[in-house]
């Protein structure tokens, strides 16, 4: 490979801490994959890591997994890879190259390195998980893992930050999947702040909706939201009774729902029982509610009325 040979000859010209480190070992495999400037702090930590690993590297070289296609020359590859990283140190041929060199040499002012090393954009949560991997495979030079360590040693990685436009999935797909997203997994994973999606179905409606129970603070809000959502399906007065802001709907109001109007709001609790919404305190409700259903009043008559609901809640308390 011609370009690799070029690099070989150029390396001897270069003088930097990086190259010194490499030439010492003679046949060492140093994978300086980031190719960043010597001056960046990250780089120096990488280098120090490499120095320690040198001796271990030599002896375990033979057993190293050499990856290449059948027929490719592994020995040749080794020497190529030694010289590989020194792109920034090529002698300048023209002005353009030197200016790019300067940019790199002066430590990548750019947001790219910023994005890599500042936690606020995104980080390497893998690094924490792969710490054990890194430690085991000490023969492999792992700049990435070490970088990750460096990055994360100061503070534990928070939830993975979102990168704009990543992963590369069409917005249409993202939106469609969002309306059919899962609920319970997220709740278990993160305390308190996560959304609590439950499915809401309605007799006669062609498809389900999902609501985030945590986005409401009382029955009134839930009712009006549902009303808006299902208004195309001629929802009855199910939601409006809670508008007073009380946490509990009284028995009489429930009766009004059942007798006078078309639909009632019911929910399936953790035991799999279908109960009328409104009997238990809101906080308890969102804890036990697994599904919501807007039923026809006639169908709901056999459902748990207030006394039983209160019994259940007493049993739990």
């Amino acid at each position: 490979m011609l370009s690799e040979e070029e690099l070989q000859s150029n390396v001897s010209v270069a003088s930097s801490p990086t190259s010194n480190c490499i030439s010492k070992g003679g046949g060492l495999k140093v994978h300086n994959y980031f190719g960043l400037s010597d001056s960046s702090s990250v780089e120096s930590s990488t280098l120090s890591g490499n120095v320690e690993d040198d001796k271990a590297t030599i002896s375990l070289k033979a057993t190293e997994l050499t990856l290449g296609l059948p027929g490719s020359q592994s020995p040749a590859r080794e020497t190529e890879l030694d010289e590989k990283p020194f792109f920034p140190l090529l002698p300048t041929k023209d002005e353009i190259f030197s200016s790019s060199q300067k940019n790199i040499a002066s430590g990548n002012k750019r947001g790219f390195s910023d994005t890599m090393y500042t936690e606020k954009n995104w980080m390497f949560p893998e690094a924490v998980a792969t710490q054990s991997v890194v430690n085991k495979e000490v023969t492999q030079n792992i700049p990435k893992g070490q970088l990750g360590t460096l990055n994360n040693s100061s503070s534990p990685p928070a939830a993975k930050a979102q990168i704009v436009g990543w992963p590369p999935v069409r917005s249409y797909r993202k939106n469609t999947l969002a309306t059919t997203c899962k609920n319970s997994d997220e709740v278990d994973g993160k305390p308190g702040s996560a959304a609590l999606f439950v499915k809401v179905s309605m007799d006669g409606a062609p498809y389900l909706r999902k609501v985030d129970l945590r986005s409401y603070t009382n029955y009134g809000e839930l009712s009006s939201a549902l009303e808006k959502m299902f208004t195309t399906f001629t929802l009855g007065q199910c939601g409006s009774n809670g508008a007073a802001g009380k946490d509990m709907l009284s028995e009489t109001k429930l009766k009004n729902l059942l007798n006078g109007k078309d639909y009632v709001l019911t929910y399936e609790d953790k035991d799999g029982d279908w109960m009328l919404v409104g009997d238990v305190p809101w906080e308890m409700f969102i804890d036990v509610c697994k599904k919501l259903k807007i039923m026809k009043g006639a169908d709901a008559i056999g459902l748990a009325a207030a006394p039983r609901a209160m019994e259940k809640s007493k049993m739990r308390a």
Binding site: M1, S3, H31, Y33, F34, G35, L36, L65, L67, G68, L69, L81, K84, F87, P88, I96, F97, S100, N103, I104, N108, K109, R110, G111, F112, S113, M116, F124, P125, E126, T130, V133, V134, E137, Q140, I142, K144, K160, Q162, I163, V164, G165, W166, P167, P168, V169, R170, S171, Y172, R173, K174, T176, L177, T180, K182, K199, P206, Y207, L208, T232
Partner: protein, 575 residues
Amino acid sequence: MNYFPDEVIEHVFDFVTSHKDRNSISLVCKSWFKIERYSRQNVFIGNCYSISPERLLRRFPCFKSLTLKGKPHFADFNLVPHGWGGFVQPWIEALARSRVGLEELRLKRMVVTDEGLELLSRSFVNFKSLVLVSCEGFSTDGLASIASNCRHLRDLDLQENEIDDHRGQWLSCFPETYTSLVTLNFACLEGETNLVALERLVARSPNLRSLKLNRAVPLDALARLMACAPQIVDLGVGSYEDEQDSESCLKLQAAIRKYTSLRSLSGFLEAAPHCLSAFHPVCHNLTSLNLSYAAEIHGSHLIKLIEHCKKLQRLWILDSIGDKGLEVVASTCKELQELRVFPTDLHGGGNTAVTEDGLVAISAGCPKLHSILYFCQQMTNAALITVARNCPNFIRFRLCILEPHKPDHVTSQPLDEGFGAIVQACKNLKRLSVSGLLTDQVFLYIGMFATQLEMLSIAFAGDTDKGMLYVLNGCKKMRKLEIRDSPFGDAALLADVNKYETMRSLWMSSCEVTLGGCKRLARKAPWLNVEIINENDNNRMEENGYEGRQKVDKLYLYRTVVGTRVDAPPFVWIL
């Protein structure tokens, strides 16, 4: 050369249908150029800003079908701000003014309006086919115009568009006398559908071959629709979660028994398991299956369905199928040509169930595989090398490791060798997307081996300008290059300005290119539109002498014969 009369040559040209081939024959001699010009039926314009409608009409006065693409590919991922461009209106207006007998319009990533659709529907008597993919800006009112006015409409195919659903009656706008529908795809409509109008339309469309419903069509309606259109070849179903509706499920099963022509199935945003299993009897004939929106369906049910699909050629699925599921695919679907595995968890929560093992299994089991899009959490060089060995026939290879910069999870090495193996083995590779931890080395391999590569997508990869240079120097057939968050700068951008004349476009965002570099490029290449997209309010993109260091956030350049476009919004600066 002209031993034959023109009509004979024209007749021969009729057999040449690919755009590339027709472009080639038009270059042979003046006579052939003229004959080809007047006989070209289908025109493909990959970048609507590369040419104007007037020039198109001058060159090809007799075409019947026009395909236009607007925004760059990365617009799919919200990297192009709203209002950037891609307006089809000037095209429709120009075509309407001319005498061209337009019959088909296919648009991708363009902005369409209701007015435009109305004008389209009134201007072309023989208009037959409207295909809109990833478009936006219109509502169901526009669809109503098309339905009302296009007497000979055959295809109305709406794929993944953002349509403002006014819940109107567009379906009932098809006249009662209208019976020529062949394709109806409105899966992307969010709102309610007039089921009665839909059923009547389907019942009076004996030629209907492809029907893709939206989520608002319930199970019993589906069963009725299917019952009156058993000739359907391509079916897209909606969303069926209600487990109580066993009667409809029975009707569905009865209807499905007659579906001997069905070859393609999609939809299933939500489906109770026994609704899904109702389709098992038709699975053995399916060649295309799209379950990539079925987030609510458990992997085991997907697997049960796929086990029946022995003739499958195309499969789009979610990663909830898992490696085990992919092994089932590998052992069942021996005819598989295209596979897409989409991520369920878009926030990279680490719950994905497909790994490099699934990919290897597929490559080992499916000898005809030539296109793959694979989202996963982890990959190894060894796996990619195995895949390359198993499948040297890839034409499209797109691998997306969800976490940027992620190395080989076993060796912690970059994935250069793995992708290198892919490009070296797959001599016909035309499209490649790379991901994971990658150095300049991978681009050296790409430049050296990917001789047929036409489209390359790069994200969070490479070390220096050399990476991009390897690609620009090596890939002679490169047409579309899109790069984000990679350290390539002015040196690479400016090294070979003439290269961009051979390419359709270049996108670079969050890279190292500077304003100064872009300006230099624009000066050297007046036949390029060099667009700087800059959404920030504090517009410091001014002449201030610091251009050499002022990084450009988004650069989009493309060759054009019509110069600077006039419809650019304020946040786009064309140098």
